[in-house]
């Protein structure tokens, strides 16, 4: 009897907590990267400024007016986006140290695809990919001297194929797409 109860308890616990664990796991990586940036550069992420929202709305309207030109890359509702604006991103000659810190922050499920760094201009782009069953999760970190963005999105395999052919442009394309996407999760 005790054994049966234990098994039933285990099934209930698995059913209720498995999706929760998965949600936390997804959130953890994104949040951990944001925290790694904050700790390394002593900066704070911000909510999306009103002006930026207005700018994005304008850009989205333009995209819609153009008709078929604009195609959303990320799945609707899958985008998480954090901005760092008007803050100093100075690695003080240790840009490689930041790369190592990002690498150690992410768990092994993420495959690093490309990293481009410019120590002189303090510009960096990191793209990581994680298998998500029929689709893929893509994490893009973009850092410039005065601003940075972290984007996580779910993309279909054909979109990833298109982006992978030019990984140098991939980060910019996905970040622009995320900025145009009106189904972002709320930013804390």
């Amino acid at each position: 009897m005790k054994m049966k109860l234990a098994i039933i308890g285990l099934i209930i616990a698995t059913t209720f907590f498995a999706p929760l664990t998965s949600t936390f796991a997804r959130g953890d990586d994104f949040d951990a990267v944001v925290k790694a940036i904050e700790q390394f550069y002593h900066v704070k992420h911000q909510s999306l400024p009103l002006l930026a929202r207005a700018g994005m709305k304008g850009a989205r309207t333009v995209a819609r007016v153009r008709g078929g030109d604009y195609k959303r890359l990320a799945d609707a509702g899958s985008v998480r986006l954090v901005f760092f604006e008007d803050q100093e991103f100075n690695s003080h000659g240790r840009i490689a140290g930041f790369k190592a810190s990002i690498q150690s922050t992410l768990n092994e499920a993420w495959s690093p695809l490309i990293a481009t760094l410019s120590a002189k201009d303090e510009e960096q782009t990191y793209i990581y990919i994680r298998d998500a069953g029929a689709k893929f999760h893509v994490l893009v970190v973009t850092i410039e001297r005065r601003e940075a963005t972290v984007v996580e999105a779910t993309v279909a395999p054909d979109v990833l194929a298109m982006l992978m052919k030019d990984p140098n442009e991939m980060g910019k394309t996905l970040t622009d797409d995320a900025a145009l996407n009106n189904n972002q999760e709320p930013i804390p």
Binding site: K120, P157, M164, N168
Partner: protein, 192 residues
């Protein structure tokens, strides 16, 4: 005395296990070069590009490139276990050391690697070496080391590389232009 003997035996067993483990790791590693030690060069480089299409990512390429237009790419990537590129551009000469180059070159001596192309330019100071790892008739890996005064690039492709189709990878997936020209067909003389 007996205890000493037993301890020695245990130590010997541990040593054997460690040595065996190291041998297995070296074999499994195959054509994959250790190039992460170059990462610190990014602190001095004006531009750094680091591409890593690791074994796990390569295993999913069939899912990623499933469209009709992707047949060519799928064919090239078929069987490949990894594509790794590290490229550093510097503003001044002497920003990377011979020891940095040697840390890669030392892995290419022996271990099944053979140099197929070596270009030295005294005038420009450019050095380009292309190495292949062969397993019988099959290519198991390719390494390109390009050391110029203001640029240092290492390309490492792991798995059965199709040299004829390799040129199609240039400019894609972050792989730089390697200057690997397609073999041109010989011109036949026109008979009047």
């Amino acid at each position: 005395m007996k205890t000493l003997f037993q301890t020695s035996l245990r130590l010997a067993a541990v040593m054997l296990l460690l040595l065996g483990g190291a041998a297995i790791t070296a074999h499994a590693q195959g054509a994959r070069l250790q190039i992460d030690q170059l990462d610190s060069l990014a602190n001095r480089a004006s531009e750094t590009v680091d591409v890593k299409l690791d074994e796990r990512l390569m295993a999913t390429t069939a899912k990623i490139f499933s469209g009709k237009d992707d047949e060519d790419i799928k064919e090239i990537l078929k069987g490949l276990k990894g594509i790794y590129v590290k490229s550093f551009e510097f503003e001044k000469e002497g920003q990377y050391s011979p020891a940095d180059v040697e840390s890669v070159m030392s892995q290419l001596r022996g271990g099944g690697w053979s140099k197929i192309v070596g270009v030295r330019s005294k005038k420009d100071g450019d050095n380009v070496d292309v190495y292949l790892m062969m397993q019988g008739d099959q290519i198991e890996g390719l390494a390109v080391i390009s050391a110029e005064p203001k640029e240092f690039t290492v390309v490492n492709i792991v798995g059965p590389v199709n040299l004829e189709k390799l040129t199609k990878l240039e400019g894609q997936f972050g792989v730089p232009d390697l200057g690997l020209d397609q073999p041109k067909p010989k011109k036949s003389k026109l008979v009047p």
